[in-house]
Amino acid sequence: MKILIVEDEADLQDVIRQSLEIEQYVVESAGDYTSALDKIIGFEYDCILLDIMLPGGNGLELLSELKALGKSDNVIIISAKDSLDDKLAGLNLGADDYLTKPFHIAELTARVKSVLRRKSFLGNNTMILGNLKLDIDERTLTVNGDSLALNRKEFDILTYMLVNKNRLVTRTALAEHVWGDHMEDADDYEFIYSQIKNLRKKLKDQGADVEVQAVYGIGYKLIQL
């Protein structure tokens, strides 16, 4: 899988690249409008992470160029602007998703994977890890072929953890993803713990060979036993 990062901030570019390389993606980057346009014209990418404010031009114009070239690369806009207008404009121009800075690495990974999944396995939205099989559309989980009932929150947590398997997921990233933006400010997100505890118990009782581990003081990690 080849991913292009279009971001003028070298530091952020570097962080995103490091994070995506852990997931075994081939990552290229462009720091301004012209070099981004060159790369878009010359190569095919599975996913493009696109910043809107770029030296030399607007990221949204790149989207139009992409469309004009007849390319169907997946695009995720990453912008500091949390404005509805920009979001709508971007999505109308054919972007697949919109991510507001600052974001958590886990969230970025999840968005990229979701976009790639939609492209690669049209309709087949299942994730398999060990003896776990999770169907995202049907919202069902089977462990060793036996179905395991999860409530809405537990299912969302597990999906998010599966997408970010073997990666660190911070409590905040998890809370924002599963409980939504309104939960920000809400104390220390300690309340997540009870949901995790229930999920762990269900998985263990069913004999799943994955485990949600606590990363001390920061968050959680899903690993295959």
Binding site: L12, L168, W179, H182
Partner: protein, 422 residues
Amino acid sequence: MSLLNYTLKYLAFALFGIINVWAVIFYVNMLDEVYDSLDDGLDNFKMLIIEKASQDSTILFRNEFAEGNYEIREVAESYAKKIKDVHKDTLMYMPYENDLEPVRLLTTAFKKNDRYYELKIISSMVEEDDLIEDLFYALIWLYIALIGSILIINNFLLRKVWKPFYSMLEQLKDFRLGVNNPVGSVKTEVKEFKVLNDSLISLTRHTTDTFNSQKQFIENASHEIQTPIAISINRLELLAEKGALTEPDMETVGRVIQTLERLTRLNKSLLLLSKIENRQFEQGELVSLNMIIKELVLEFRDFADYKEVQMNVEESGELSYYMQKDLAVVLLSNLLRNAIIHNKEGGTVKIAVDRHFFNITNTGSAQPLDGERIFKRFEKSSSDKNNTGLGLAIVKAITDMYAVTITYHYDGAHTMTVSFKT
């Protein structure tokens, strides 16, 4: 007092004075002229009579006015010598008026055939009181006519001449920073209005520009801050992921991430607050607050359960209001979050919705809060480190924007009442 009435008030006083002074002068002058003309007539008459007397001596014996207007009496020489021509006012009985009327009397003497005669000639006079009365009425009418025509002309002028002024006034009245355009140019021939218009245009344009650049600055500053925070958080996440850290180190990294997340929230809240206060939100739609409350209560359930707080919704009416949906959600979620956070174990949050208001009542500390201070920015109790201190300031900004009132009161439990004018 409008411009029209204001000028009219002064004009009315001024005109009253001017007309009065003018009336006195006019009266004196006119009377003087009348006397002059009468006396000239009498003098002329005297000459005619004396001339006639030299041809017809019978008139020398007319010693009564009777139907004529002169009388002649023979007098002694010494007496006649003393007589000079004297014009004077006197009263004489007039049978027609059945009253004494003023007349002008000329007393003179002449010599004829060595005999001396005294001649008295009268002429009927202006009746002064009638004259004054006539003049008075004429002046009253003049005054009314003047004021009336000034009123009409002024009114017309105001509409016509002051039109650019009122047009500018209207534009200025409607002018809201960040909402509509600066005052536009107004067509006028009047120099002062042109200057006023130019000044207004440059003033409002300058204000709008300053406002916009200020707005842009706050927005850009907030956005520029987001990127370094993003980089810091992500780098720390990557560092923690490597697994090369000891547990205490991990905890430190976790703390730093939390602090950075707080900074993010603070930054976002400031941006939101400045956006609300700068009226940068688009027009809204009819939003059902009942729906939003129910959705939010569902979202907050896990959090409330963790805090061991019971949430109840009582709906006694459908509350809908025309507002931005995102802001309605922010308003309600901030209030709900506060009600859950500042609660006690086993406490309750009661949300009552009626047609014109909603109440959020929560148990919590036994101390009433200061109803004024809680809505101020960065006003917070020192104990909660995760609170940005902007939650209620944002709530207040939203309610102010939509002319909705929010009040706090304490009667054993803390209640926030938000009343809508529907």
